[in-house]
């Protein structure tokens, strides 16, 4: 019975989903294995840079997945989803910042450098506790979760939908960006939080920690994927899809639509927060640009290109687009935004269901 349950958890009727899932598992096994077996000079040994780059893609995939729950399953085109990613990132950043201790430029045992620079004498109250990992970890989920709850409660209860909702989500992340830019907010202003030294006592630059962070990102993505897929197969998942397709009708069946939207919105915000928290130690910095509306739009593009409402589509989309971004910005940084915009337009016109939809159609054609 138990093995049957596990089987249905890992295997889906959709073959592409299985391929994506097992590729991810292979990836998080192979990369560390290669690095353990082959000496650092070998071509099969991934450099710390490559490992962290792959790890970053995994956190973006998790972010895309979380948006797919909100947009693909519940039909809410959220244009401010990056705010939750950034809040998770800042929570982790605050922990990492306080680990620096006396090793900062100014050598203050408690205050981070930027506070000493601003001539602050005391740690603001909201920085308390962040020296402890057990405190910072729940904050990674709570900070975005609470924001999503308050925002969603207000927006969904007053039945704001469609374009209006999209616009206010965008306004939300924009407002947060402006706030975090201010030095007085106490989050490092436009420089953000950086110069991290170690995490849980291990050197954050070391290859072992890089590999560990990469593996944890992969496991988080796989876990989130399986959990989200499980949720989509419950009655809650079906109500959420029904809300997407015919919101008013769901109310007349006795469901409080706003509660279902809120549930999925908060859950997705927490996943986005986790993604942000894993992203920050791998890139070594978090600053207010993570709140920029453009970032949130990019997430939407990943999901649109990968294919909405499939979960794995968001993963494929996020990985591919970001790989493309790495390559292109290396070659011709100016054209990246245009390329992204053009791809988005082409995809929405010619592949409304994204890559996932294309693969599904190909498979159906092969069957007939």
């Amino acid at each position: 019975m138990k093995s049957l349950f596990l089987g249905s958890l890992f295997f889906s009727n959709d073959k592409t989903a299985n391929v994506v899932l097992f590729s991810l598992i292979a990836l998080i096994v192979l990369v560390p294995l290669c690095n353990a077996i082959f000496p650092s000079a070998s071509a099969l040994h991934f450099s710390a840079y490559t490992v962290s780059l792959l790890g970053k893609y995994l956190t973006f995939a998790l972010l895309g997945l979380s948006l797919d729950l909100v947009w693909g399953y519940c039909g809410i085109l959220a244009l401010g989803h990056g705010a939750f990613f950034a809040l998770g990132g800042y929570s982790m950043g605050m922990y990492l910042m306080r680990q620096i201790g006396e090793r900062g430029v100014y050598g203050d045992p408690v205050l981070p450098d930027f506070m000493v620079f601003l001539d602050w004498k005391e740690l603001p109250w909201y920085w308390y506790g962040f020296d402890q990992f057990w405190f910072a970890l729940p904050m990674v989920f709570l900070a975005p979760g609470v924001l999503a709850f308050v925002f969603g409660w207000l927006a969904f209860r007053s039945r704001v939908t469609g374009v209006y909702l999209s616009i206010i989500t965008q306004a939300l992340t924009y407002a947060l960006m402006l706030a975090f830019f201010r030095n007085e907010m106490g989050f490092g202003g436009n420089n953000g939080l950086t110069d991290f030294k170690d995490i849980l006592g291990f050197n954050i630059q070391s290859e072992a920690v890089r590999v560990a962070l990469f593996m944890i990102s992969g496991l988080a993505l796989i876990g989130a994927f399986l959990l989200s897929r499980w949720i989509s197969c419950t009655k809650l998942g079906r109500v959420v899809t029904a809300v997407r397709d015919h919101e008013a009708r769901v109310r007349f069946l006795g469901y409080r639509v706003e509660m279902f939207k809120l549930w999925i919105f908060v859950f997705a915000a927490m996943l986005a927060g986790l993604a942000g928290a894993l992203y920050v130690p791998q890139v070594g910095i978090i600053n207010p640009s993570e709140f920029s509306p453009l970032n949130s739009l990019e997430i939407v593009v990943w999901v649109a290109i990968g294919g909405r409402g499939t979960l794995y589509g968001a993963i494929i989309g996020a990985m591919l687009v970001n790989y493309g971004k790495t390559v292109l910005t290396g070659l011709l940084p100016e054209i990246w935004l245009f390329t992204l915009g053009a791809t988005f337009v082409l995809v929405t016109v010619f592949m409304p269901n994204g890559l996932a939809g294309l693969l599904l159609k190909k498979r159906e054609e092969m069957h007939t």
């Binding site: 009655k235 809650l236 109500v239 029904a242 397709d245 009708r249 007349f252 069946l253 409080r256 549930w263």
Partner: protein, 272 residues
């Protein structure tokens, strides 16, 4: 001081079955009260001081020319539209104007829409499952599992609406008539006290119409049913009592024969 207690003919409140506020009380036989209800859209009166009473367990037909306000009436009862004035009660005690759509649905007033409204991306079975009477909160939905009893109930409704073979099919690819049936099935799954059925036989074949009539007749007594329909033959086959709506108010009420011979009704329909 104790004198009232000695009054042997008085019925004291504590002897009566207590009625909690918010609990359905149909001790006066009437399940739906609409009194002086008016609704206007940009100055146009879709409902004009309309009063209507539906008895518990009754099967009532509402007819009237296009634009008479029949659908608007259902919108008012189900909380979709708030009237400008008037009162709407469910039984003696429940004020529907203070409730929103989910609360009204949970209280037991369910509705089939004029345009068939099923969830096209879900299967027929899943459509019925979503409609099923249950705790409709988000957390209960996350952990809800279908037990044998639930499955039996769904199978039963599938048989009633003749869609057993289509159980696993996506609702979107059903025919128009089958969608109508599915939506009626969704009503049944909710085990409603009042069923509001807006134009149930539109797009159905003759056979399907006959079966719908049979079904609605078999349900009367168990549920109070209000049917809006244009198909006069269909109305004649099910109606005990017919209410004619015209320009947002009740024109007349009676049996089908009485109504059809009413000169005002003839004028309204011929003048249409």
């Amino acid at each position: 001081m104790n004198k009232p207690l000695m009054d042997r003919y008085k019925t004291f409140d504590f002897v009566r079955k207590p009625v909690k506020p918010g609990e359905l009380d149909v001790s006066h036989k009437t399940i739906l009260y609409l009194e002086d209800v008016s609704v206007s859209f940009d100055g146009f009166k879709a409902l004009n001081n309309l009063s209507l009473y539906i008895d518990n367990g009754e099967l009532r037909c509402l007819i009237g020319p296009n634009g008479a306000g029949k659908t608007t009436l259902m919108d008012v009862i189900t909380g979709k539209t708030k009237p400008d004035s008037g009162s709407v009660f469910f039984g003696q005690t429940i004020d529907l104007l203070e409730m929103d759509e989910p609360a009204i649905a949970q209280a037991g007033i369910c509705r089939k829409f004029q345009k068939p409204s099923v969830f096209e991306n879900l299967s027929v079975f899943e459509n019925l499952e979503l409609a099923m009477k249950a705790d409709k909160g988000a957390w209960p939905a996350l952990f809800a599992r279908l037990n044998g009893e639930h499955r039996d109930r769904i199978e039963e409704v599938l048989t009633t609406i003749g869609l057993t073979e289509h159980s696993a099919q996506q609702a979107g690819i059903l025919s128009h008539g089958q969608k109508q049936w599915l939506e009626i099935g969704m009503l049944l799954m909710q085990e409603p006290k009042v069923m509001l059925v807006d134009e149930p036989v539109a797009g159905m074949t003759h056979q399907e119409i006959d079966r719908t009539a049979e079904l609605l007749l078999s349900l009367q007594g168990k549920h109070s049913i209000v049917v809006v329909e244009h198909d006069m033959e269909f109305v004649r086959s099910i109606a005990r009592k017919v209410t004619v709506l015209h320009e947002g108010s009740v024109l007349t009420e009676g049996t089908m024969d009485e109504v059809q011979n009413d000169p005002r009704v003839i004028q309204v329909y011929l003048g249409d």
